[in-house]
């Protein structure tokens, strides 16, 4: 498609466009179903069985079961939909967002209190900011491999 996608060179970021939306349709609609308390109960009682009611790919189901939000997004998920899974687990948006960085909850919270992640080095793929691919995962997990 010749239409501009100027957002493809932003590091650590997946823009939810029509293509992603098509990919993630059933995954995201599953997430919407968790807005009903009764469905949250059914999901929690037997996650796999509940997921099997949806026309999701096996990868999408595995990503949900693993609560791996980066994998979910790669499979077409959008954070506003995926947040319903976190809500079902009693997690906050901060816990969910942090989980995608590889940082611990404390590390991420401290980064935010310290003013958040800088845009420096994180605007364009290939720079050297903390969101760039070569610096993942971040936090203690990431530091271990480079120290």
């Amino acid at each position: 498609m010749p239409l501009d996608k100027p957002y493809l060179d932003v590091p650590g970021t997946t823009i939810f466009d029509a293509e992603q939306s098509r990919l993630g349709y059933h995954l995201n609609q599953f997430c919407m179903s968790l807005m009903k308390a009764a469905n949250r109960e059914r999901f929690k009682a037997d996650e796999r069985a509940y997921l099997d009611e949806w026309a999701m790919t096996e990868e999408q189901k595995q990503a949900v079961l693993a609560r791996d939000l980066n994998r979910c997004i790669k499979a077409g998920g959008n954070i506003y939909f995926l947040a319903k899974i976190g809500a079902t687990d009693g997690k906050s948006f901060q816990q969910m967002a942090g989980s995608m960085t590889g940082m611990t909850e404390e590390e991420y919270r401290d980064m935010m209190i310290g003013g958040g992640r800088s845009a420096e080095g994180n605007r364009v793929l290939g720079e050297d900011g903390t969101a760039q691919a070569h610096r993942q995962p971040q936090g203690r997990a990431g530091q271990k491999t480079t120290s």
Binding site: P6, Y7, T13, I15, D17, Q29, M35, M112, R117, A119
Partner: protein, 286 residues
């Protein structure tokens, strides 16, 4: 005064964690204290400048609108709107009363000005709408006045451009000020400021961008409307794109239609609330 009039515009982030902090009685905690302090003025201002109707621009966060139907612009024409269950259970806040008569009038006028609205007669409202009300009104038994919800798609791309949003604000102003009842109407733009909720880049905050945005929103909204989406994403995070909604409220102010420059009644900025930079502005028409 015989016609409706836009007296002021209010701009604020609508971070869900702020709602949770209030609902769970945590607003006095050291983490939250500076956030709510920034809205102390605003609550007094609201009490002294109680509008008859709030036209509240926000985005639905995959709550009322699933992927089955994604309206670019949706206007709520119902009698009332129930706070949604976003997965944590509904927020314990009052039901939002609508203003179907004014909403229908605005819908008609704005569609005739070539904005292709979706008319919504049934809709639950999420934190995008209720958190600004909580910040500005506290925790009352009932919201102080009717609210017309106006939802903008910023979830699935392509989202409307800043320019389109600004032009829409102008059309909304014309619509409101052609309603032949002497209503005092405020228009609120919500969402933002810089934040990113996804991927390895989650947690991005850009104070320089945010403050420049506030400056330009006040002094040069027409120029600000030309900022392309990609600048928001690159500079203010993938969810920073919500800021285009502020341009709708700004476009509805008198100066844009040749009237006097608005007064800055209040300005506030703080980092962080959860993943987000909190920005807030009150502009009064003279």
């Amino acid at each position: 005064m015989t016609m409706a009039k836009i007296t002021a515009s209010v701009y604020t982030s609508h971070v869900p964690a702020i709602g949770a902090a209030l609902d769970l009685g945590k607003s006095g905690e050291p983490y939250w204290q500076p956030v709510f302090k920034g809205y102390e003025f605003s609550k007094h201002w609201m009490a002294e400048n109680k509008p008859d109707v709030i036209f509240l621009v926000y985005n639905d966060h995959a709550t009322a609108f699933s992927l089955d139907m994604i309206p670019t612009f949706a206007i709520g024409c119902a009698d009332s709107f129930t706070p949604a269950d976003e997965g944590w259970g509904p927020r314990p806040v009052p039901v939002v009363q609508g203003h179907p008569e004014l909403a229908a009038h605005i819908a008609q006028s704005v569609i005739q000005q070539d904005f292709d609205l979706t008319i919504v007669n049934k809709m639950d409202v999420d934190h995008g709408l209720t958190v600004p009300l909580s910040l500005m009104c506290g925790q009352p038994q009932a919201w102080p006045c009717p609210v017309i919800p106006f939802a903008v798609n910023v979830v699935q791309y392509p989202v409307p451009s800043g320019r389109r949003c600004f032009e829409l604000g102008k059309a909304i102003r014309k619509a409101i000020e052609s309603f032949d009842k002497p209503l005092n109407v405020q228009i609120w733009g919500t969402g933002g400021m810089s934040h990113q909720l996804q991927g390895p880049r989650a947690g991005l905050i850009n104070k320089e961008f945010d403050n420049a945005f506030l400056d330009q929103l006040i002094d040069d909204p027409e120029g600000l409307a030309s900022k392309p989406h990609i600048d928001y994403v690159r500079e203010a995070g993938s969810e920073g794109i919500e800021l285009v909604m502020w341009l709708i409220a700004r476009g509805a102010m008198a100066d844009v239609a040749g009237g006097p420059v608005p007064t800055v009644a209040h300005r506030f900025y703080h980092v962080p609330a959860s993943n987000t930079a909190v920005g807030h502005l009150i502009l009064e028409n003279k």
